[in-house]
Symmetry: C2
Subunit: 196 residues, 2 copies
């Protein structure tokens, strides 16, 4: 046999990324084998190389795409808002929604920095720095305007991000609380924590 009837490069590449996310989340990147991945997608191991250069490039592509979408959607969520309280509320709602719907991706991006080659890791860390800087800026604006009162803006930003990201650890789509209710609860905690 050779090329399968009905095969399609775009679609296969998407299947590979999706299955890759599942397997990396389950086993860790280094422990995920390309043979598992190929089986999951329904290919021979060698055929994967029609869709990426090597295993490292697959990880980088997954994490980079995630970070760029995260940043783009954050920009959209904040667009047109200028009041710090409004912006922080919008950030909180966006961050929670994104993290509740893409838990595996978020987990990988946070835990597999260690498996990226130095150059790739630096690129991702830079993107993450832009995300964090946005939150720092919101808090700094609020402090300047008197809306917020925090002793250390950077620590507060890390604290807020970590608190919200923690939703990934326990949220289940069929759980006790819905996404909107969770967003309300967390956002209340955030605002109370940073309001003077």
């Amino acid at each position: 046999m050779a090329r399968t009837s009905g095969s399609n490069g775009e679609r296969t590449a998407a299947h590979i990324r999706d299955a890759g996310v599942r397997l990396i989340h389950r086993h860790g990147f280094e422990a995920m084998s390309l043979r598992q991945l190929a089986t999951e997608v329904g290919l021979q191991p060698g055929s994967l190389y029609n869709h990426f250069e090597n295993k490292q490039a697959l990880l980088f592509e997954i994490v980079r795409t995630h970070m760029e979408e995260l940043l783009a959607e954050l920009g959209a969520a904040l667009e047109g808002r200028t009041d710090p309280v409004d912006r922080l509320t919008a950030f909180s709602a966006f961050h929670l929604r994104y993290h509740m719907t893409r838990r595996m991706l978020v987990y990988i991006a946070n835990s597999e920095l260690r498996s990226l080659e130095p150059g790739n890791r630096e690129a991702i860390v830079a993107l993450r720095g832009r995300y964090e800087a946005t939150v720092v800026a919101i808090l700094a604006d609020g402090v300047a305007s008197g809306a917020f009162k925090v002793a250390d803006v950077r620590v507060a930003a890390y604290a807020v991000i970590a608190m919200l990201t923690g939703v990934c650890d326990w949220y289940r789509p069929d759980g006790r609380l819905g996404q909107e209710e969770i967003a309300r609860l967390y956002t209340d905690l955030v605002l109370k924590g940073v309001t003077g």
Copy 2:
């Protein structure tokens, strides 16, 4: 050659655990090889089996010991305190101190639940449940006494724990802020967030 001069079971076992923590943190449990571990400790691969039953038992032993020490030290930190604000402050200070000094262990315990066999995983999840329940109880007491005001005690507990645990992601012993200062900053955020 055979038994090395000056060898000592207790000491070797401790070296194995320490090196194991480093390697699991660096590569993930499944991706850590016992050959790497043996090299790190200065043994042949087969000799490791004088100190654990198998790879899985090594992971379980590391995580279980960590969780039991965490619970024991939490108990000590809260001992004799009854006021909810006092207890939450003590919890925050303890949690931060513990997590700043044992970052790799904490990371492993949080990320390698996936690599534990079902029975072992359940045992660890139960220990973690006791830790979380302690925080829930502190918050519930505070709500009952009027000291705290949170809409959902469980969500608030998860939020507080995640926020504080996040210190592992950025704290460096030689960084801008010392442990006491960080503890003060985080504890302020926590108390402001849950105080009515």
